[in-house]
Amino acid sequence: MISVDTQVRGSWTVIAAVGEVDVVSAPELRAEIVRVVSEGFSDVVLDLSGVVFIDSFGLGVLVGAVKRIQAHDGHLRVVIGEARVHAVLELTGLDRVLDLYDSLEPAIAPLGAGG
Protein backbone atom coordinates (compact mmCIF):
# COMPACT_ATOMS: atom_id res chain seq x y z
CA MET A 1 0.00 0.00 0.00
CA ILE A 2 1.52 3.26 -1.11
CA SER A 3 0.53 6.76 -2.10
CA VAL A 4 2.67 8.70 -4.56
CA ASP A 5 2.53 12.47 -5.01
CA THR A 6 4.66 14.58 -7.35
CA GLN A 7 5.39 18.29 -7.04
CA VAL A 8 7.90 20.70 -8.54
CA ARG A 9 10.05 22.41 -5.91
CA GLY A 10 12.47 24.90 -7.44
CA SER A 11 14.63 23.07 -9.95
CA TRP A 12 13.69 19.68 -8.51
CA THR A 13 10.78 17.38 -9.18
CA VAL A 14 9.88 15.80 -5.87
CA ILE A 15 8.22 12.39 -5.94
CA ALA A 16 6.97 11.66 -2.44
CA ALA A 17 5.94 8.13 -1.50
CA VAL A 18 4.17 7.16 1.70
CA GLY A 19 3.61 3.60 2.89
CA GLU A 20 5.24 0.27 2.11
CA VAL A 21 7.26 -0.38 -1.04
CA ASP A 22 7.00 -4.04 -1.96
CA VAL A 23 6.15 -6.18 -4.98
CA VAL A 24 2.62 -4.77 -4.99
CA SER A 25 3.42 -1.08 -4.73
CA ALA A 26 6.87 -0.83 -6.34
CA PRO A 27 5.48 -0.73 -9.91
CA GLU A 28 3.45 2.39 -9.08
CA LEU A 29 6.53 4.20 -7.82
CA ARG A 30 8.60 3.01 -10.78
CA ALA A 31 5.92 4.16 -13.23
CA GLU A 32 5.88 7.64 -11.72
CA ILE A 33 9.68 7.93 -11.97
CA VAL A 34 9.55 6.77 -15.59
CA ARG A 35 6.77 9.26 -16.37
CA VAL A 36 8.57 12.21 -14.77
CA VAL A 37 11.91 11.50 -16.43
CA SER A 38 10.34 10.81 -19.82
CA GLU A 39 8.64 14.21 -19.62
CA GLY A 40 12.06 15.82 -19.34
CA PHE A 41 12.30 16.33 -15.58
CA SER A 42 15.59 14.62 -14.82
CA ASP A 43 16.56 16.34 -11.55
CA VAL A 44 14.52 14.26 -9.14
CA VAL A 45 14.16 14.02 -5.39
CA LEU A 46 12.62 10.77 -4.21
CA ASP A 47 11.11 11.68 -0.88
CA LEU A 48 10.82 8.35 0.95
CA SER A 49 10.58 9.93 4.39
CA GLY A 50 7.07 8.47 4.67
CA VAL A 51 8.14 4.97 3.65
CA VAL A 52 8.10 2.55 6.58
CA PHE A 53 9.02 -0.65 4.74
CA ILE A 54 11.10 -1.44 1.69
CA ASP A 55 12.02 -4.80 0.25
CA SER A 56 14.10 -5.97 -2.70
CA PHE A 57 11.52 -4.70 -5.18
CA GLY A 58 11.78 -1.23 -3.68
CA LEU A 59 15.55 -1.45 -3.89
CA GLY A 60 15.16 -2.45 -7.53
CA VAL A 61 13.14 0.71 -8.15
CA LEU A 62 15.93 2.81 -6.63
CA VAL A 63 18.57 1.10 -8.78
CA GLY A 64 16.39 1.65 -11.84
CA ALA A 65 15.91 5.31 -10.94
CA VAL A 66 19.67 5.86 -10.68
CA LYS A 67 20.19 4.24 -14.08
CA ARG A 68 17.36 6.07 -15.82
CA ILE A 69 18.27 9.48 -14.42
CA GLN A 70 21.98 9.03 -15.17
CA ALA A 71 21.05 8.16 -18.74
CA HIS A 72 19.27 11.54 -18.97
CA ASP A 73 22.23 13.41 -17.42
CA GLY A 74 20.06 14.23 -14.45
CA HIS A 75 20.50 14.12 -10.69
CA LEU A 76 18.81 11.96 -8.09
CA ARG A 77 18.55 12.68 -4.39
CA VAL A 78 16.79 10.35 -1.99
CA VAL A 79 15.28 11.32 1.35
CA ILE A 80 15.08 8.55 3.93
CA GLY A 81 13.24 9.03 7.21
CA GLU A 82 12.96 5.61 8.87
CA ALA A 83 16.12 4.13 10.37
CA ARG A 84 14.97 0.65 9.33
CA VAL A 85 14.79 1.72 5.68
CA HIS A 86 18.22 3.32 5.91
CA ALA A 87 19.54 0.09 7.44
CA VAL A 88 18.39 -1.92 4.41
CA LEU A 89 20.23 0.47 2.10
CA GLU A 90 23.38 0.10 4.21
CA LEU A 91 23.14 -3.68 4.24
CA THR A 92 22.93 -3.84 0.48
CA GLY A 93 25.57 -1.17 -0.12
CA LEU A 94 23.13 1.08 -1.94
CA ASP A 95 23.82 3.87 0.55
CA ARG A 96 27.17 4.23 -1.26
CA VAL A 97 25.65 4.80 -4.69
CA LEU A 98 22.66 6.93 -3.66
CA ASP A 99 22.79 10.60 -2.67
CA LEU A 100 20.94 10.30 0.65
CA TYR A 101 19.34 13.00 2.79
CA ASP A 102 17.63 12.91 6.18
CA SER A 103 14.99 15.48 5.30
CA LEU A 104 13.45 17.19 2.30
CA GLU A 105 14.64 20.78 2.72
CA PRO A 106 18.38 20.14 2.16
CA ALA A 107 17.51 17.72 -0.63
CA ILE A 108 15.80 20.44 -2.67
CA ALA A 109 18.68 22.93 -2.30
CA PRO A 110 19.86 24.07 -5.73
CA LEU A 111 22.60 22.02 -7.34
CA GLY A 112 26.03 23.31 -6.43
CA ALA A 113 24.73 25.25 -3.44
CA GLY A 114 26.10 24.69 0.03
CA GLY A 115 29.10 22.65 -1.07
Binding site: M1, E20, D22, V23, V24, F53, D55, S56, F57, L59, G60, V61, V63, G64, V66, K67, Q70, R84, A87, V88, L91, T92, G93, L94, D95, R96, V97
Partner: protein, 146 residues
Protein backbone atom coordinates in the same frame (compact mmCIF):
# COMPACT_ATOMS: atom_id res chain seq x y z
CA UNK B 1 10.26 -26.33 20.10
CA UNK B 2 8.47 -23.14 21.06
CA UNK B 3 4.99 -21.93 20.37
CA UNK B 4 3.78 -22.39 16.81
CA UNK B 5 1.93 -19.79 14.78
CA UNK B 6 0.80 -20.93 11.36
CA UNK B 7 -0.74 -18.83 8.61
CA UNK B 8 -2.13 -20.09 5.34
CA UNK B 9 -2.90 -17.56 2.63
CA UNK B 10 -3.98 -17.61 -1.00
CA UNK B 11 -1.03 -16.89 -3.27
CA UNK B 12 -1.98 -13.27 -3.87
CA UNK B 13 0.53 -10.40 -3.58
CA UNK B 14 -2.12 -8.21 -1.95
CA UNK B 15 -1.90 -10.49 1.12
CA UNK B 16 1.83 -9.93 1.66
CA UNK B 17 1.27 -7.08 4.07
CA UNK B 18 -1.05 -9.32 6.09
CA UNK B 19 1.64 -12.03 6.25
CA UNK B 20 4.19 -9.46 7.43
CA UNK B 21 1.78 -8.18 10.04
CA UNK B 22 0.93 -11.60 11.46
CA UNK B 23 4.47 -12.95 11.63
CA UNK B 24 6.03 -9.84 13.10
CA UNK B 25 3.09 -9.54 15.47
CA UNK B 26 3.72 -13.08 16.64
CA UNK B 27 7.45 -12.35 17.03
CA UNK B 28 6.67 -9.29 19.13
CA UNK B 29 5.00 -11.52 21.71
CA UNK B 30 8.47 -12.75 22.69
CA UNK B 31 9.93 -9.70 24.46
CA UNK B 32 13.52 -10.93 24.24
CA UNK B 33 13.76 -9.98 20.58
CA UNK B 34 14.80 -6.46 19.71
CA UNK B 35 12.93 -4.28 17.24
CA UNK B 36 15.92 -4.52 14.89
CA UNK B 37 15.71 -8.29 14.73
CA UNK B 38 11.97 -8.18 14.18
CA UNK B 39 12.56 -5.71 11.34
CA UNK B 40 15.05 -8.20 9.84
CA UNK B 41 12.47 -10.94 10.12
CA UNK B 42 9.74 -8.76 8.58
CA UNK B 43 11.76 -8.16 5.41
CA UNK B 44 13.08 -11.73 5.12
CA UNK B 45 9.60 -13.24 5.52
CA UNK B 46 8.23 -10.78 2.99
CA UNK B 47 10.91 -11.78 0.48
CA UNK B 48 10.26 -15.49 1.02
CA UNK B 49 6.50 -15.01 0.67
CA UNK B 50 6.97 -12.92 -2.46
CA UNK B 51 9.02 -15.71 -4.02
CA UNK B 52 6.40 -18.26 -2.98
CA UNK B 53 3.56 -16.23 -4.47
CA UNK B 54 5.51 -15.69 -7.69
CA UNK B 55 6.19 -19.43 -7.91
CA UNK B 56 2.46 -20.10 -7.66
CA UNK B 57 1.58 -17.44 -10.21
CA UNK B 58 4.19 -18.62 -12.71
CA UNK B 59 3.28 -22.30 -12.40
CA UNK B 60 -0.47 -21.79 -12.12
CA UNK B 61 -0.59 -23.69 -8.80
CA UNK B 62 -3.88 -22.97 -7.06
CA UNK B 63 -2.92 -24.06 -3.55
CA UNK B 64 -2.18 -21.72 -0.70
CA UNK B 65 1.20 -20.91 0.73
CA UNK B 66 1.93 -21.73 4.33
CA UNK B 67 3.94 -19.66 6.77
CA UNK B 68 4.88 -21.51 9.93
CA UNK B 69 6.53 -19.63 12.74
CA UNK B 70 8.21 -21.42 15.66
CA UNK B 71 8.71 -19.01 18.55
CA UNK B 72 11.47 -20.31 20.82
CA UNK B 73 13.15 -18.48 23.66
CA UNK B 74 16.41 -17.82 21.84
CA UNK B 75 15.36 -17.95 18.18
CA UNK B 76 12.47 -17.56 15.81
CA UNK B 77 12.25 -20.01 12.96
CA UNK B 78 9.97 -19.40 10.00
CA UNK B 79 9.22 -21.81 7.18
CA UNK B 80 7.49 -20.59 4.03
CA UNK B 81 6.15 -23.43 1.92
CA UNK B 82 4.81 -23.16 -1.60
CA UNK B 83 3.56 -25.66 -4.15
CA UNK B 84 4.83 -23.84 -7.20
CA UNK B 85 7.51 -25.00 -9.56
CA UNK B 86 10.71 -25.48 -7.63
CA UNK B 87 13.73 -23.35 -8.41
CA UNK B 88 17.41 -23.45 -7.63
CA UNK B 89 18.23 -20.44 -5.46
CA UNK B 90 21.91 -21.32 -5.54
CA UNK B 91 21.97 -20.83 -9.29
CA UNK B 92 21.19 -17.13 -8.94
CA UNK B 93 24.01 -14.67 -9.45
CA UNK B 94 24.79 -12.44 -6.52
CA UNK B 95 24.73 -8.74 -7.30
CA UNK B 96 28.22 -7.19 -7.55
CA UNK B 97 29.49 -4.74 -4.95
CA UNK B 98 27.68 -1.43 -4.79
CA UNK B 99 30.41 0.53 -6.58
CA UNK B 100 30.98 -2.04 -9.31
CA UNK B 101 30.12 -0.68 -12.78
CA UNK B 102 27.77 -3.63 -13.36
CA UNK B 103 25.90 -3.11 -10.11
CA UNK B 104 23.18 -1.03 -11.71
CA UNK B 105 22.33 -3.92 -14.00
CA UNK B 106 20.77 -5.67 -11.01
CA UNK B 107 17.26 -4.33 -10.56
CA UNK B 108 15.82 -7.70 -9.66
CA UNK B 109 17.13 -10.85 -8.02
CA UNK B 110 17.99 -8.87 -4.91
CA UNK B 111 15.59 -10.75 -2.63
CA UNK B 112 17.58 -13.87 -1.81
CA UNK B 113 20.84 -12.00 -1.13
CA UNK B 114 18.87 -9.65 1.11
CA UNK B 115 17.33 -12.58 3.02
CA UNK B 116 20.75 -14.12 3.54
CA UNK B 117 22.23 -10.97 5.01
CA UNK B 118 19.27 -10.25 7.28
CA UNK B 119 18.81 -13.56 9.07
CA UNK B 120 21.16 -15.96 10.81
CA UNK B 121 20.26 -19.08 8.85
CA UNK B 122 18.63 -19.56 5.46
CA UNK B 123 17.82 -22.89 3.91
CA UNK B 124 16.12 -23.57 0.59
CA UNK B 125 14.65 -27.00 -0.05
CA UNK B 126 13.48 -27.03 -3.65
CA UNK B 127 11.71 -29.87 -5.39
CA UNK B 128 9.64 -30.19 -8.56
CA UNK B 129 6.49 -29.80 -6.45
CA UNK B 130 7.47 -26.72 -4.51
CA UNK B 131 9.95 -25.00 -2.27
CA UNK B 132 10.42 -24.63 1.46
CA UNK B 133 12.37 -21.61 2.65
CA UNK B 134 13.53 -21.78 6.24
CA UNK B 135 14.64 -18.61 8.00
CA UNK B 136 16.11 -18.41 11.50
CA UNK B 137 16.55 -15.23 13.47
CA UNK B 138 18.42 -15.53 16.75
CA UNK B 139 17.97 -13.29 19.76
CA UNK B 140 21.50 -11.90 19.54
CA UNK B 141 22.20 -8.90 17.33
CA UNK B 142 22.65 -9.46 13.62
CA UNK B 143 26.14 -10.54 12.62
CA UNK B 144 27.87 -7.77 10.76
CA UNK B 145 29.37 -8.63 7.41
CA UNK B 146 33.09 -8.29 6.78
Amino acid sequence: MGEIVELEIPARPELLSLARLVITGAATIEPAFSDDRIDDLRIAVSEACTNAIEAHVSSGAADRITIRCDLAEDRIEVEVTDNGTGFDPYALDAAPDAEHPDRLAYESGLGIPLMKVLVDETEFRASPTGTVVRLVVARHPRRTSE
